[in-house]
Amino acid sequence: MTTTAHEQAGTTAAPRGPAGGAAATRNPRRGPRPGRLRRAGLPYLLLLPALILELLVHLVPMVIGAVMSFKELTQFYIRDWGSAPWSGLGNYRVSVDFHAPVGEALLHSFLVTVGFTLLSVGLCWLIGTAAAVFMQDTFRGRGLLRALFLVPYALPVYAAVITWVFMFQHDNGLVNHVLHDQLHLTDKRSFWLIGDNSFYALLTVSVWKGWPFAFLIVMAGLQNIPRELYEAAALDGAGMWQQIRRITLPSLRPVNQVLVLVLFLWTFNDFNTPYVLFGRAAPEAADLISVHIYQASFVTWNFGTGSAMSVLLLLFLLLVTGVYLALTSRGRRTGDV
């Protein structure tokens, strides 16, 4: 361990990056530094607070949750959950038995969430990228517009979503007023927060709240594209649209790789938006998985099944993330060659 620590300290001194060469030649002249050993422990000391907190709040509860999923944890055992009887794979069997009501509802909620997430992430990405690309050049009012576009993202979720709840009201909401009273598009006022329309209501709110994040990230990514690329393309006679297609979009690939993944995970796990929009009981058409599991745990007080569903959800997300990263990274590498 001591030898590796020394080696570590040695590699520590050699910086990475373009400045590495110059610094590395300077290093040997400096001679052995005092307190090398102590320094080898320093990174761990610096990481300790973050590590402890992540363990306490995320990893330990996750392990507890996984254990709970194998228990028959109903309200009778809540005070002393350790004494709940083991149920083996019972909770999982109930969760994935798609012919029984519990499993069927879970599958339905899962499919709704998948559809919702794909649509929401796609639209957020599309609008965010288009806005960022259109606002790359300076024009009058650009700064103001940029600030304005970030407002939905900056608003606290509940404040924004409550406003949408008001707009979607049946009798006194703006949406019905415009669609029915002013444009006469509908025969009668529609319900937006119950029934099938609730899916579109949720999608609208989610896109409204989510696209500025894509905008923000793409905007930042655009600033890292060297100007020379555009100049060279312009000299070669490439027009604006061609520059966007040939330079801007390919250069954004690494940014998009992370952005789409993050958007996907956030949207898939989103609890705040549906919870504030619909309250505790989400309509069937917009029954997102987090609210569904929350409902399954806290309303029926069956925490064992709720935990099993959460574990299944996590496994699914791990799988998707793994496959996604494998696919996009491979594509990127061959793209570079």
Partner: protein, 292 residues
């Protein structure tokens, strides 16, 4: 960083063609409408008399009144929720930023065993569905409280602890990128001059990374200020935050939409104003850090 992070680079030296300018106009106009309508509804409704928000929707108020802004404080104990949210979000932000600075410095400047495991683990906590650890965490806090007498459940402390870990992964990730862009020669020089590693961190690296740190702080504050799920389970009457407290307006017999809109506006102003003032740093921070 060779160029100023806030200076908008001219993307194309060529003049934009007409088709581009027109598409831009149409697209940005539509988008502005989409973004602005809810904001307009929020602002205008908060100034309407109750009759205007109970009947058919009106684009223009029949008369302007500031009554809703007075009434919101007595309909629900909004001031108390406000203070709770400020304390919780403020403390979570400060702790999260400090811890993230330490962690990011370690990852950015040192080679050590388990570095990859650490970054991957911390980042992957971002993908955990909150619902997965809500209940276990709740049980954990209750048990810690029973065993040690430290009240985490129902207290602001427990909520601060929870929220700061929500923003930690993103903050660390972003600061690693940002610290990497601060030339190592700078802190090497500080070390030669006799600063310890921590001296180098606080005298050289942190000052050079201020935009990134501000960006991370904004993100951490917004995360804590807007969280609903854990706030709804882990708070009680005295520690309730705005996220839960705001729901109090709609559980009354009459739904005072003008008051709800006024309250939403009041709770949004601190974060939106802060965010808009500091968004340049966020973009600069993202440019140098996260998206690199």
């Amino acid at each position: 960083m060779s160029k100023s992070p806030t200076a908008p680079p001219m993307a194309s030296p060529m003049a934009s063609p007409r088709s581009f300018v027109w598409s831009r106009r149409v697209f940005l106009t539509l988008l502005t409408g989409f973004v602005l309508v809810p904001v307009y509804v929020m602002v205008s409704s908060s100034l309407k008399p109750l009759a205007d928000v109970t009947g058919r929707f009106r684009w223009l108020p029949s008369g302007l009144t500031v009554r809703p802004y007075i009434d919101i404080w007595s309909t629900v104990p909004l001031a108390k929720y406000f203070v709770n949210s400020l304390v919780v979000a403020g403390a979570a932000t400060v702790c999260s930023v400090v811890i993230a600075v330490f962690a990011a410095y370690a990852v950015s400047r040192y080679a050590f065993h388990g570095k990859r495991v650490f970054t991957v683990t911390v980042l992957s906590t971002q993908m955990f569905p909150g619902i997965l650890f809500l209940l276990p965490l709740f049980l954990l806090y209750v048990n810690i409280g029973n065993a040690t007498g430290i009240a985490l459940f129902g207290s602001r402390g427990g909520l601060i602890l929870t929220y700061l870990t929500f923003s930690l992964p993103f903050s660390i990730w972003m600061l690693i990128g940002y610290f990497d862009s601060v030339p190592r020669d700078l802190d090497e020089a500080a070390l030669v001059d006799g600063c310890g590693p921590l001296g180098a961190l606080f005298r050289v690296v942190v000052p050079a990374a201020i935009p990134g740190i501000v960006a991370v702080a904004v993100y951490a504050f917004m995360t804590a200020w807007g969280e609903v799920l854990f706030a709804s389970v882990m708070t009680n009457d005295t520690t309730r935050t705005l996220a839960v407290g705001l729901q109090g307006y709609s559980t009354q017999n009459d739904v005072y939409w003008n008051q709800i809109m006024a309250a939403s506006l009041v709770v949004s102003v601190p974060v939106v104003a802060g965010f808009l003032l500091l968004q340049r740093y966020l973009v600069a921070g993202l440019t140098a850090g996260a998206v690199k």
